[in-house]
C-alpha cells in the first residue's frame, strides 16, 4: 500500500466517522417528536375530553416503550380548550406557530373539530380526529385534505335497529329526534335506511333540547301503531321518553335509542324499564377486536377507571397516526396523508379505512339490547353475543 493510499483510506475513515457521529448528534438534536392537541379538560365536555386525553397518553406511553416513532421519543403537548370552539382555534394556532409542534391530533367533539380544522388545513397539518362524528366536517367544499375520521358517523347510529327490524319483516317506523346537530343526523340516517329497506316512515318529529314532556308526541305515535320507534336521543330525553311510553302504554315491537354522549347510566336510571330497549355504541370492551382486551386492562391499571369509547377512539386515533408516519418513514404531511388514505387496519377500536376525503368507511357501529341488566351485542352479525329478544312485549305483560 502506498503512502497516498493509506492517506486516502484514513481520510475516508475520518469522513465516514464524522458523518456517523454527526448523524447521531443530529438525532439527538432533533429531540422527541412533539404531538400537540387541545382537549376539553374543563367545561361541558370535561369528562369525555379527559377520557380522550387518557387514550392519547396510553398510546404514546406504549409507542415510547416500543422505541418511539422513527427512532425518536414521542411527547404530548396538551392545552385545555374549556369545551369552547374559539379557544380551540386559538390553541391550535399557538401549537403550530409558536410551539412549532411536529404534528397535531384532533380535539374532542364535532363543533370544536369543525372550528380547528380550518387552522390545521391552513398550515397543512395532518389531523387524525378521533372524536368527530359529523359527516359535514369531512365532506366540505372546498375539500379538506389533511383531516381523518376514526369513529362512525352519526347517520349510522340507528342502522342496526332498522336493519334488524327489516329482517324481521317489520314495515312501519316512527322516528323522533332532539333538534340538535348529532340527533338530526342520526334521525336522517334512520329515515334514509328505512326507506331503502322498503319500510314506511309513518311519523317523524323533532323536539327541542331539554324537553321532558312527550305526552302529545307519544299520543300521536301511538295512533300510528308504528312497529318500530327509532329515537335519536341524548340521555335525559331517552329516559323521559321511555318512562312516558310506559305511562301511555305505547307498545312498539322494537324501540331503540341512541346513547348520546353520557356514560352507561341508562340502566341505572331506568332499572327494569330499560329491558328490551336497543341502543347503539361506537365500541364496547367485550368486542373481539385485536388488542381490545389488553387495552382495556392496561387502561384500567393506568387510570384506575374503565375506558369509555372516547378513551378507545383517542387511543386508536393516535395509533393510526403513528402507523401512517411509520409507513411514510417521515413526518411530512403529504407523505403521511398518502399513507393514511391507503391504510386499512384494525385497532382495539375496530376497523379503519377512509375514502379520499378522510371520511370513515369501515368502522362499525354496534347495536346492543338491554337483556337482564346487561348490554348484549345483537348487531352486526359478525360481532353478536346473543339472540335478539323479539318482539318487545307490551308493558303490561312484563
Amino acid at each position: 500500500m502506498t503512502r497516498n493510499a493509506v492517506g486516502a483510506l484514513l481520510a475516508a475513515v475520518t469522513v465516514a466517522t464524522a458523518a456517523v457521529l454527526t448523524t447521531a448528534l443530529m438525532v439527538d438534536a432533533q429531540g422527541p417528536i412533539r404531538l400537540g392537541a387541545s382537549l376539553s379538560l374543563t367545561g361541558t365536555y370535561a369528562k369525555l375530553g379527559k377520557n380522550q386525553h387518557e387514550g392519547y397518553q396510553l398510546c404514546i406511553k406504549e409507542l415510547n416503550a416500543k422505541g418511539g416513532l422513527l427512532g425518536r421519543k414521542v411527547e404530548l403537548v396538551v392545552y385545555d380548550d374549556q369545551s369552547l370552539p374559539p379557544t380551540g382555534v386559538r390553541l391550535y394556532e399557538k401549537l403550530i406557530t409558536e410551539d412549532k409542534v411536529d404534528a397535531v391530533m384532533g380535539p374532542y367533539s364535532s363543533p370544536i373539530t369543525e372550528a380547528v380544522a380550518n387552522v390545521t388545513e391552513k398550515y397543512k397539518k395532518v389531523m387524525v380526529s378521533p372524536l368527530a362524528a359529523t359527516t359535514s366536517i369531512f365532506k366540505k367544499e372546498p375539500r379538506r385534505r389533511y383531516i381523518f375520521m376514526v369513529i362512525s358517523p352519526a347517520e349510522g347510529y340507528l342502522e342496526g335497529l332498522i336493519d334488524i327490524a327489516s329482517k324481521r319483516g317489520l314495515k312501519t317506523v316512527a322516528v323522533v329526534n332532539e333538534d340538535t346537530l348529532f340527533s338530526k343526523a342520526a334521525a336522517a340516517g334512520a329515515v334514509d335506511l328505512a326507506k331503502k329497506k322498503g319500510m314506511q316512515v309513518v311519523f317523524q318529529e323533532a323536539y327541542p333540547k331539554g324537553n321532558t314532556d312527550f305526552s302529545a308526541l307519544l299520543t300521536k305515535i301511538k295512533s300510528t301503531n308504528a312497529d318500530v320507534i327509532a329515537a335519536a336521543t341524548y340521555f335525559d330525553d331517552a329516559v323521559a321518553l321511555t318512562r312516558q311510553m310506559k305511562e301511555l302504554n305505547v307498545n312498539p315491537r322494537m324501540y331503540g335509542v341512541t346513547g348520546g354522549r353520557r356514560p352507561p347510566e341508562f340502566y341505572d336510571t331506568l332499572k327494569g324499564n330499560a329491558e328490551y330497549i336497543y341502543g347503539a355504541t361506537q365500541w364496547e370492551p367485550v368486542l373481539n377486536y385485536p388488542g381490545n382486551k389488553e387495552f382495556f386492562e392496561s387502561y384500567k391499571a393506568e387510570f384506575k377507571h374503565e375506558p369509555s369509547y372516547h378513551s378507545t377512539a383517542g387511543y386508536a386515533g393516535c395509533a393510526i397516526y403513528a402507523e401512517g408516519v411509520k409507513r411514510a418513514g417521515s413526518l411530512e404531511a403529504d407523505k403521511v396523508r398518502e399513507q393514511l388514505l391507503k391504510l386499512e387496519t384494525k385497532t382495539a377500536f375496530g376497523d379503519y379505512k377512509v375514502d379520499q376525503d378522510g371520511f370513515q368507511l369501515a368502522h362499525k357501529m354496534v347495536t346492543f339490547q338491554w337483556q337482564k341488566e346487561k348490554k348484549v351485542v345483537v348487531w352486526p352479525d359478525d360481532l353478536v353475543q346473543g339472540k335478539v329478544l323479539f318482539p318487545t312485549p307490551p308493558w303490561n305483560q312484563r
Binding site: 333538534d179 316512515v201 309513518v202 311519523f203 317523524q204 318529529e205 323533532a206 323536539y207 327541542p208 331539554g210 324537553n211 321532558t212 314532556d213 312527550f214 305526552s215 302529545a216 308526541l217 299520543t219 300521536k220 295512533s223 300510528t224 340521555f235 335525559d236 329516559v239 323521559a240 318512562r243 312516558q244 310506559k246 305511562e247 301511555l248 302504554n249 353520557r262 356514560p263 347510566e265 336510571t269 331506568l270 332499572k271 324499564n273 308493558w395
Partner: protein, 292 residues
C-alpha cells in the same frame, strides 16, 4: 305521516296538560309571592327547585324513604335555605333598583347550579319509584303525575288558605300591598320578607320533589322552571296569587295542545306568542296584577 287526531287523543293531552298545569301553578306561586311582597324577580327560583329535587333524591337513595314522604322534608330544608338566602343576601337589594335584584338572583342561580355540579356531578339521577299509569276508559293517567297533581293542588290550596286566613298570611298580603303601611301597623317587614322567601323556596322544593319522581334530575334542570314560572305569573298577572294557578293551567294546556296539533318544537313558540298576546291585550295579566 298523516296522523289523524281523534277526540280521545285530544282528551288524553288535555288530561296531561291539566296534570302538569297545576304543578306549574304551584311552582309559579312561589315566584309570584316573592314578586308580590318584595318586588324581586327571583331568577334563582328554578335552581332552588333543583335543590329540592336533589334533597328528595338523597333522602330516597340514602335512607330509602318513600319519595312522597320526603316532600315535606324537602320543603323544610329549602324553607331554611330560602330564609338564609334572604337573611344574608337578598335583603340587601330589596330597595335597590330592579336591575340589582335581577343581577343578584342571577348570580345566586349560577352559584347554585355550578355548586350542584361540583357536589352532585352532572350525572343524571332518578327516583325510580312509581312508573306506569292507571287506565280510565281510553285514557292513561300517569301514576306519578296524578300524585304530583294531588300534592300540588293540596299545597296550593293550603298556601291560599294560609294567605287568606292566618295572621301571618294576612301580614304577608299587607306587606305586599304597602310596605310602609304594614310597617306602621307594627308588622316586622324584614321578618315577613324572610318568611316569604322561605315559603316560596319551599313551594319550589315541593315542585322539585314531585318532578324527581316523574323525570330524571340533573343540576341544570331548574332554569327552564324559572322561565316557565315567569311565563305563568305574567299570564296570570304578576303578583296576583290565584292568577298563578290559572296561568299554570293555561300554560299546561297550551303546551300540550300545540304539541298535538302542531309539533312539540312549536309548542314553546305558541306559549310565548300567547304571552305576547296577553301583554298586548291585557298588560296586567289575565286576572290583573297586584290584587292581593
Amino acid at each position: 305521516m298523516n296522523v289523524v287526531i281523534t277526540p280521545a287523543m285530544v282528551g288524553q293531552v288535555v288530561i296531561s296538560g291539566l296534570l302538569s298545569g297545576v304543578l306549574y301553578g304551584m311552582v309559579a306561586l312561589g315566584l309570584a309571592l316573592i314578586f308580590g311582597v318584595m318586588r324581586i324577580i327571583n331568577v334563582a327560583h328554578g335552581p332552588l327547585l333543583m335543590l329540592g329535587a336533589y334533597t328528595t333524591f338523597f333522602f330516597y337513595s340514602t335512607w330509602g324513604l318513600n319519595p312522597y314522604l320526603t316532600v315535606p322534608l324537602s320543603m323544610l330544608v329549602l324553607f331554611g335555605v330560602g330564609w338564609l338566602l334572604e337573611r344574608t343576601l337578598v335583603f340587601r337589594v330589596v330597595d335597590a333598583p330592579e336591575l340589582s335584584s335581577l343581577l343578584l338572583t342571577f348570580g345566586i342561580s349560577i352559584a347554585l347550579v355550578n355548586g350542584a355540579q361540583l357536589a352532585f356531578t352532572s350525572d343524571l339521577r332518578a327516583v325510580e319509584y312509581l312508573t306506569g299509569s292507571w287506565m280510565v276508559g281510553p285514557f292513561a293517567l300517569s301514576k306519578s303525575r296524578v300524585i304530583a297533581f294531588v300534592f300540588a293542588g293540596g299545597l296550593t290550596a293550603a298556601a291560599f288558605l294560609f294567605l287568606s286566613y292566618t295572621r301571618l298570611g294576612k301580614a304577608i298580603r299587607a306587606t305586599s300591598q304597602s310596605r310602609e303601611v304594614a310597617m306602621v301597623c307594627g308588622i316586622d317587614v324584614g321578618a315577613i320578607h324572610r318568611l316569604t322567601f322561605g315559603l316560596a323556596s319551599a313551594l319550589a322544593a315541593a315542585g322539585g320533589a314531585l318532578i324527581a319522581v316523574i323525570v330524571a334530575i340533573q343540576p341544570e334542570m331548574g332554569q327552564i322552571w324559572t322561565f316557565k314560572s315567569f311565563l305563568v305569573i305574567v299570564l296570570g298577572g304578576a303578583g296576583n296569587y290565584p292568577g298563578a294557578l290559572l296561568g299554570g293551567m293555561l300554560l299546561g294546556l297550551v303546551e300540550q295542545l300545540a304539541s298535538l296539533f302542531l309539533t312539540t318544537q312549536l309548542s314553546e313558540v305558541v306559549a310565548y306568542v300567547l304571552l305576547v298576546l296577553v301583554l298586548l291585550v291585557r298588560p296586567t295579566g289575565l286576572l290583573g296584577g297586584r290584587q292581593t
